[in-house]
Amino acid sequence: MQGNNLKYFTNGLITENPVLRLVLGTCPTLAVTTAAVNGIGMGVAATAVLVCSNLAISLLRNIIPDKVRIPAFITIIAGFVSVVQMLVKAFTPSIDKSLGIFLPLIVVNCIILARAEMFASKNSVLPSVLDGLGMGIGFTATLTLMGSIRELLGAGTLFGFEVTKPFIEPMTVFLLPAGGFFVFGILIALSNAVAKRKGKKVVEHLGCANCPARSSCKNADKASCEEIKKEEVKVNA
């Protein structure tokens, strides 16, 4: 039992890293990572929401009727997001300013709804909380890594301190949207290379497998969903 719980926690860190392996929550990943500090801020805010919503949803999982579970999940998540939003606004206004609209947009962050749908609604409280915590820390670490890379290359600083700025001219393009897409692409390529070496599945495309709305849309992107189902059957068999 102890070992199992540990597995729920470590799952989100590397093997199922939400950003690099599940490719969830791409919008905030690309948008806020212009500086390392933003990555930490976004990550911690999302982790807080994720842990709380996983806790609440796993407690309510037998009460919420199946048909209205998605709206119910969204309402629960939105409540926690509002709380986090007010806390961030009150205690770290500078983070609130740099995250801007992406702080309230945690509501529609795929990671949170996907974990609610795939994990918390099927598991008891402790594993759900640990899963939320692991996923959240995985998300925070990846965002901070990406923020550090972009800050270092784009501004020559790290967490606001000058590092390479005096020797190397900073390449501002890494702070532009284009740099976000580029760094993210390279990180996915690296994580794929590592996964391949370890014999794990490589992230080929963004399919339906991780889409939180998957259960409510039986027809969307039918072809790729069926492909994924086949793959799942193969894995299970």
């Binding site: 791409t26 919008c27 947009l105 393009v173 532009l176 284009a178 897409f181 692409g185 794929n192 709305a213």
Partner: protein, 194 residues
């Protein structure tokens, strides 16, 4: 009544300079997930545009007449519920009255509730203190900008499939790098329309 110039500026900004996907990073999931074929990209963006304009039309009065000034902290929770309800209503309405449109767009509608572009644009309307008419045009411009980048990118991905890509970049990485180049070319528009 906002002037023609301010409307033009909003349209230009939404479509080109402040493109939803490529400069604001809203709606990345459909941008990467549904942009494999030009047809599906087009239908998806029409559905998104429709929902964005209707959602803006409904959330603006709710915020300005009901929530402001005492209950602004309820913005997030009220907006997401309103959007979810609107999407459901549109689905039911289309299914009952405009069958062909439902068959073309219906499958994308459930995906739109959790699309950050829709919630994002309704919140940006409030944040930027736009008037009612301006926020409608802002939503329309954002939708058209979304459509432009989706359709452009779907065309590029078609070419990418036939391209000879280094082994380690195959799949998602090269798609993202292509997106980076498209975003870079869009940053050339900055400065148009003020």
């Amino acid at each position: 009544m906002p002037s023609l110039t301010s409307i033009t500026a909003i349209l230009l900004a939404g479509i080109l300079t402040n493109n939803m996907v490529l400069s604001k990073f809203l709606g990345i999931c459909p941008f990467l997930g549904v942009s494999k074929k030009v047809n599906t990209a087009f239908s998806m963006s029409i559905a998104v545009t429709l929902v964005m304009v209707i959602a803006s039309a409904v959330t603006w009065p709710i915020y300005n007449y009901l929530l402001y000034p005492n209950f602004t902290y309820l913005e997030t929770i009220v907006f997401i519920l309103v959007i979810a309800a609107i999407v459901q209503l549109i689905e039911i309405f289309l299914k009952k009255y405009i069958k062909p449109l439902y068959e073309a767009l219906g499958i994308y509608l459930p995906l739109i509730t959790t699309n950050c572009a829709v919630l994002g644009i309704t919140m940006l309307n409030i944040q930027n203190e736009l008037t009612y008419i301006e926020s409608l045009f802002n939503a329309l411009a954002a939708g058209l900008g979304f459509m432009l980048s989706m359709v452009l990118f779907a065309g590029i991905r078609k070419k990418l499939e036939a391209a000879d890509v280094p082994e380690f970049l195959k799949g998602l990485p090269i798609t993202l790098i292509a997106a980076a180049l498209v975003a870079l070319s869009f940053s050339g528009f900055s400065g148009i329309g003020g």
